[in-house]
Structure formats: structure tokens, C-alpha cells
């Protein structure tokens, strides 16, 4: 699904290098590493917002750099760490914005678009929120809405930048479980950056570990091992 081929990412100088990594459909990968190691930079590079310094990334055998803007947003959706809610923007209209790559020049939604939106909302369990304003629901609910928006974009790949950072423990667990279930059901490939090592361990997620300037994939791990790796300078 995603092939990361010996890339180097960073703004001006190299922050993080990777080996040859292959991420598959139907799985949630956890991107872990200490603050400032380059997790967000890597995710930014994967969205095409930041050019790669070296190497190449391909999504389903298409080179990232060869994809047009609209082709790219039909392949990769992004959930940011915090959606603060917007005054007078309803949940259903917010989720509907995920259909933007598919709508006409005036952004008109078809009945088919609305079907996708309703189904996704049901799958994530936020049907009851649809008529509410996004600035009047809780942080946990808002984050689920952000995930729903990424899902209606119908991309095979979803990148999530610390989606659990502002949630309480139970909401973290809930969000993670929803992501895992949906990735299996819909055969999506998800990559989420997080500091919740214990949750990832419990859910047995494969890890993308960033430490001492290197990115590597670890399918099975125990906490001590990872902590030791991460503590290296």
C-alpha cells in the first residue's frame, strides 16, 4: 500500500532517514518516537506538503511526486491532532467537506455523497451528533468527527497526526479501537503518530519506530525494548 523507499525527511537538513519499509492495507501502524524526532515532518512529507530530501515514496505503486494534487487527496486523507470546532459549522456539513475532492465546481453534494456520509457516521457511531454544531460537542466527539471526515474522503490511506493527544484515557482507547476495526473492515492502511505506547502495545499494533535519526518497522515488540531504543541519543 505505502512503500517508503530509503527516504530522508526534514526542512533543510535531514531529520529522519528510513530503511525500505512496506505498509499494508487492513492495518493500523503506530508511529512512535520522542518529541522533535521528526514524526510530524515525516507525516507532512507523506502528504506531499513537504518535499522529500532523498529517496521516494509510492502509494499503490504510484510515485508520490508524480501524483497531481487531486489524485493525491483521493489516495491520502489526513486527520490533524486537534480540530477545535468552528462556530455555526454543523457536524454533518463538516464531515461532508471530506467529499470535496469528488464534488463539482460548486461543491454540490449528490445523494450518493450523502449516503457515504450517513454510512460512515453510523460506522463510527456519531449519527446522533449530525445536527449539532462542531463547537458545541466534546473533544472526544470532535475527534471522531475528524476521523469520519477522513473516511468519507474514501482514500485507501489515512494519516493521523497524534489524534489522541487531547483525549482522556477512555476516549483514546475508544478511538483506537474504532480505527483498528475500520481498517480491517474497509482494508485501509492507517498510520498514526502517538505517544500512547501502552495502548499500542495492548492493541498489538505494528510500530514504526523513530529513534536516533532512523525510522524502522517493528512488527512485534515489548515496552522495555522500545523504551531502550527511544532513549538512545
Amino acid at each position: 500500500m505505502i512503500r517508503i523507499h530509503h527516504i530522508a525527511v526534514g526542512y533543510h537538513q535531514v531529520l529522519l532517514r528510513s530503511e525500505d519499509i512496506q505498509l499494508n492495507a487492513g492495518k493500523v501502524y503506530a508511529l512512535v518516537g520522542r518529541n522533535g524526532i521528526g514524526k510530524s515532518t515525516l507525516l507532512q512529507s507523506l502528504t506531499g506538503a513537504l518535499p522529500l530530501l532523498e529517496g521516494k515514496v509510492s502509494f499503490m505503486n504510484d510515485d508520490l511526486s508524480s501524483l497531481s494534487r487531486i489524485e493525491l487527496v483521493k489516495r491520502v486523507a489526513v486527520v490533524e491532532s486537534r480540530f477545535e470546532g468552528i462556530e455555526y459549522l454543523k457536524v454533518k456539513d463538516y464531515i461532508a467537506l471530506g467529499r470535496t475532492p469528488y464534488t463539482d465546481a460548486f461543491g454540490q453534494l449528490t445523494t450518493q455523497d450523502w449516503e457515504v456520509i450517513q454510512q460512515t457516521a453510523s460506522a463510527i457511531g456519531i449519527r446522533s451528533l449530525m445536527e449539532k454544531f462542531t463547537d458545541q460537542i466534546s473533544d472526544g466527539e470532535r475527534q471522531l468527527c475528524a476521523v469520519a471526515r477522513a473516511f468519507v474522503q474514501e482514500t485507501p490511506i489515512i494519516l493521523l497526526d497524534e489524534p489522541t493527544a487531547f483525549l482522556d484515557y477512555l476516549n483514546r482507547q475508544k478511538l483506537l479501537n474504532i480505527l483498528i476495526a475500520l481498517s480491517k473492515n474497509q482494508q485501509k492502511c492507517m498510520l498514526l503518530s502517538t505517544h500512547d505506547l501502552e495502548l499500542c502495545l495492548k492493541a498489538e499494533l505494528p510500530l514504526l519506530l523513530a529513534s536516533s535519526g532512523k525510522l524502522s518497522l517493528k512488527e512485534h515488540f515489548n515496552l522495555e525494548e522500545v523504551l531502550f531504543e527511544m532513549s538512545k541519543p
Partner: protein, 331 residues
Amino acid sequence: MKDKSLRSLIICLLGLLPIAMYLHLMSGQIELSFSSYWKALFDFNPKDTYQVLIREFRLPRMVMALVAGAGLSLSGMLMQTLFKNPLAGPYVLGINSGASLLIALSMMTGIQFFQSNFGLIGTALIGAMGAGLLMMSVAQRLKSQISLLLVGLMFGSFTAALVSMMESKAGAESLKSFTMWSMGSLQQVTFEQLPLILTTFILSVILVFLAVKPLNVLVLGEKSAGLLGIHIQRTRLFILGITALLAGLVTAFCGPIAFVGMAIPNLTRILFRTTHHTTLICGNLLIGALFLLGMDSFIQLLEGQFSIPLNAFTSLVGAPFVVFLVMRKIK
């Protein structure tokens, strides 16, 4: 609120518009019959003083109140969405100042081309666009919504200083015409200028409707909009361009009019409770036009006793409203 009630609200406002236009025409100091309006338009007799009065003063002023109110509100809405900041507007962000600066420059140089209609619109447009681009580049480096307001204010003071330096060098004639212009008035437009003004206005409104999709997505901010496939650079220039066109047009012919462009889009949003821009565009056009028609009718009614400059009057209402907004929700 449901879509149906939004529609009926728009229809209500639409119904109020002809009434406000009629009241504005009737609120002048000299009473004029409806039939003289009819004749002035379709059977004009240049010897009839009343008909001349209508053609040269009443009608242009009414049309300008409508265009200025609607145009400023719409450009304010565009800026608030683009900057993702409810305090943005053509006046506070110095779009007017940019236009003023260039207009002052052209008026005081006394070059004939700049006094023509196209020259005036052109200079105002360039000034407005320049200020818009400047603000855009500054805004990207700012974190809080309120700092943008401060930067706009500083830009306003800076241009005001430049303008007063020019004033001290200017001749009496050009100084007078600039001072009159800078007080803001709907009275300076002639009947012959109306077609040009209306065409530019209608063209800009059509362009705004073409930008509905990117505007709806920009509500999420530029970064998220980009991740949904919106071409940010192009959209930014397009929206700033229309903003400058609308604000520049109004500023060129009416002088600076404070706060309308910031207050009305907020009022519209509070009233309609939506972020959908098709609705917001209609709302801003209608409420903006109604507001300025109402304001100017009031000024006309008082004109017998004492005359208030339009700019002063809109500030009187607008400034407290901004304070209200800041207390309500600004970070």
C-alpha cells in the same frame, strides 16, 4: 436552523429591500412625487428642476448606498473567511487605507487620467490589492486573531501619516477634493457613472458565487483546505482580487466607510447560523444594502438640522459592535 427557515429569512430580507430603497428616496429634504421619479428615469426633461434633482442626486445616492453596503459586506465576508478571523474587514485591515493612499497620491499629483472613472477605480484597485497582499503575507506569521487587527491599525496610521505629508504639499483645490472624499459620502457619484459602477459590482458578485466551493472549505483553514485538494495559492489570489475589486470600487467613489465590512458579515453569521457561503453571500448582500440604506436615510432626514459625515456615523455604530464581538469570543 433548517434550510427552509433560512430561505424564508432571505425572502423576508429581499422583501424589505424595495421598501428600504423607497424610504431612502423619500427621506430627502425636498418632497418629490413618485411620478417625477418615473419621468426622471424614462421621460427625462432637463428643464424640470425636480427631475434633475432626482437624476443627479437622489437616484445615484440611493444606488450607491445599496452598492456600498452590499459590496463592503461581501468583501468583509471574503476576508473573514480567507483570514479565518471574524475581525477581518476591508477597513480594519487597511484595504481602504491602501486605496486611500494611492487615490491621495493621484489626486494631489493632479494628473488628468487619474481623475477619470477608470483611473479612479484603477488606482483604488491597485492600492486595495497591494494592501491585501501585504496583510496576507503578514497574517501568515501571526498566531493570534487580535494581532492581525493591530497590524492593520498600524498600517492605517502609517498610510494616514503619508497622506497628511502629501496634504501639506498639496494645492488648495486638490486638498479640498481629497478632504471631502475622505469623509465618506454617497453623494459624489453622477448618474452617468452608475452603469460602470453597477457593471463592476454585478461582475464581482458573480465571481464571488464562483468561489463558493473553496470558500466553504477554507472555513477549516488553509492547511486543511489544501489537504482536501483546494489550490491554496490560486484561491487566495482570486479571493483577494475580488475583495480588492469590491472594496476598491466602493472606496474610489464613496471614500472610506468604516466598520460596515467587518460588522455586517458577523451579524449575518449570527443571524443565519451557518457557514455555507451561498447563504452567507445572499445574506451579506441583503443585510449590507439594507443597513447602509437605513443609515443614509437617517442622515438624509437629519440633513436639515446638521450634517453627519457617513464615515463618522458608521463608526458610531460599528466601533461598539466590534467591542461586543471581542468580548463575545475572540481568542
